[in-house]
Amino acid sequence: MKGGHELENINLVKSAIKGDEKAFETLVKGESEKLYKTAFLYVGNKEDALDILQETIYKAFISIQQVKQPEFFNTWLTKILIRTAYDLLRKKKKIILDENIMNNFITDNPQDIEGKIDLISAISMLNNDYQTAIILYYYRDLSIRSIAETMEKPENTVKTYLHRAKIELKKTLKGVNKYEQRTFS
């Protein structure tokens, strides 16, 4: 089943490369949930995730002819999304640092810590490379090799990213738990 569907997708990709706008729209709509959630994982909020998505679609639309191998359309689209997410995060970096995100989470909503710093929020606090490695591995289900290709980094580097990202995530999540225990004890 999966194979057949992918084959049809390849036909759509080919049409899209040739300039068939309709095929392009069908393709990205088909991928839209994955794309949106991937973007969400970087930024942790709806507005920014939608911004990233729109920018990604725009960039992909004007450069679709560059796709040389239709079977790599999704990888290509994901790469654009990642880069766009990085750009947005870079622009927002200063603001985030100033606001001190952790403090805000804790002081604004002391009763809602568990809901706030869940796994998803913790991921949006990781550095970009760690985020990408985690997202592609756990959510997009890519192999280490494919992640390496998408990130244009050696496989060993990707493994290191994954390893360190997991340690950081644990730390963040555990930190919250400790805080939680203190409040309730």
């Binding site: 959630k37 679609i57 960039k59 639309f61 796994l119």
Partner: protein
């Protein structure tokens, strides 16, 4: 943490489908706007992509090329090609065929240096670096193009620009660096050439940085051929003229013919060598177009961004015809049921029912004469999704009576999504929102039969071109 846990967490994140579809439409509209302006003004520049993201993916397979001695001796250039995965530059650098340059120009406190250049086939590539206190990628904002720099070739006349690819500007310890690749669309390719290149802005800083970049073409080997593939009775043909072997590129010159009715058709080729290595497609230039006795003839030169393997004995060229037709327009001012038929193909839709409630217009129709073996469910859905309505007075035609899509497209109304109705996959219902108080009979239907024919491409007989 495992994948399942992760997915479970993520499934808690709401998927705002309507908002998402809305930004997708906006992104496409934004891109379409840019494409249309570009097509109008920059006829020859359609392939020049300003998206940094895109140029990074020029070479999908070539990401971890080994660092050779040559690369090590010219770290800056090497890392630029490697960083941006520019396949042609990378390949040539490894064979020591990239010339190092050191041409500098200064304007507004910013120094730009052309650091290297090459010329293979019809491809000219350069790398450059920019230095200066004022340069900052953070300050681009809305001021400059997304790549971080702007430039033109020759005197800046839009008609003279070549297509190409460019990378984004990247910050390195050695300044801000970037690379560009241009594809000459001239029929004659001189062996010595001077490329007049002018930068006009760097990270939003305006200025004039003028260069005349001297390049010498890497010697080429040309193999003549007369192999051809003809589709009998249909006036389609592809006749090879030559294969030009570059060091990192290959140019194929050929002539195609198509019948007048297929003037929007394209013949695409896929090229393999006898060992199964595929040449990676780059882009094709139509050097000339003529029409004789109802047949359209085109002279084409197509660039491949890979070289032909030294051991290859012959190339196998597979031409495929993609037939296209512009949207068929039909007024809705008639009694149902009625047919909308493609004038070129057998495809039809039968409009069974039209219902109007104020501004809501509901259309019931069946798609007829499609071969569901070649045209799949997805394709049909895609076709139905793009059946549009338009107020008849807003339909623009050119002087030959053909639909002028650029002028018409702003008035078209899409349905949210065509729903498959009971009674088979070929029966659809689309709902449109039209102007309140206007009778649907003042509207027309636009039916994109061309999207169906593109799915039914025609394979021509493959051609062999012997290389030795």
């Amino acid at each position: 943490m495992n994948k399942e846990h992760f997915r479970k967490e993520l499934s808690k994140v709401e998927f705002p489908k309507e908002d998402v579809f809305d930004v997708i439409s906006k992104g496409i509209a934004q891109g379409r706007k840019e494409k249309i302006t570009k097509q109008k003004v920059k006829l020859k520049r359609i392939g020049m992509l300003l998206s940094g993201a895109a140029s990074t993916f020029l070479a999908s397979g070539l990401i971890f090329a080994p660092i050779t001695n040559v690369l090590a001796s010219v770290p800056v250039i090497g890392s630029i090609y490697e960083k941006f995965s520019l396949q042609i530059g990378h390949e040539l650098l490894e064979s020591n065929l990239v010339t190092q340059l050191n041409q500098q120009a200064t304007s507004n406190g910013v120094h730009i240096t052309i650091t290297s250049a090459y010329y293979d086939g019809n491809v000219i590539g350069i790398t450059f670096k920019a230095e200066g206190k004022k340069i900052s990628l953070d300050s681009i904002g809305d001021k400059g193009p997304e790549t971080g720099y702007a430039f033109h070739l020759f005197d800046g006349d839009e008609q003279k620009q070549w297509s190409g690819s460019m990378t984004v500007l990247e910050e390195t310890t050695d300044g801000y660096v970037g690379a560009m690749e241009f594809y000459s669309s001239d029929a004659d390719l001189p062996t010595n050439f001077t490329l007049p290149l002018t930068f006009t802005s760097i990270t939003g800083i305006k200025g004039v940085w003028k260069f005349d970049v001297p390049v010498e073409q890497i010697p080429l080997e040309t193999i003549q051929s007369q192999a051809e593939s003809i589709l009998k009775e249909e006036d389609y043909s592809l006749k090879m003229e030559s294969v030009v072997k570059g060091k990192a590129t290959t140019l194929l010159k050929y002539k195609t013919t198509s019948p007048l009715v297929g003037k929007d058709d394209s013949i695409e080729i896929t090229v393999f060598d006898n060992e199964g290595n595929r040449l990676s497609k780059n882009h094709a230039d139509v050097l000339s177009t003529g029409s004789y006795n109802g047949i359209i003839e085109k002279d084409i030169r197509e660039l491949f961004s890979s070289k032909i393997n030294g051991n290859a004995k012959f190339l196998i060229i597979q031409p495929i015809i993609n037939r296209y037709e512009k949207d068929t327009v039909k007024s809705m001012g008639q009694r149902t049921p009625f047919m909308v038929e493609s004038s070129r193909f057998n495809y039809k839709i039968m409009v069974e029912k039209i219902e109007q409630n104020g501004e809501q217009l509901i259309l019931d129709y069946s798609v007829l004469n499609v071969n569901t073996d070649t045209i799949k469910k997805d394709n049909l859905q895609n076709f139905a999704d793009f059946i549009m309505v338009i107020k008849s007075e807003n339909i623009h035609r050119d002087k030959n009576g053909e639909l002028d899509m650029n002028k018409t497209i702003n008035y078209t109304i899409r349905s949210n999504r065509a729903e498959v109705k009971e009674g088979g996959d070929l029966h659809f219902q689309s709902t449109f929102e039209i102007e309140d108080g206007v009778d649907y009979q003042d509207y027309s239907l636009m039916v994109p039969f061309g999207t169906l024919s593109l799915k039914e491409d025609i394979k021509m007989e493959p051609i062999k071109v012997y290389l030795k």
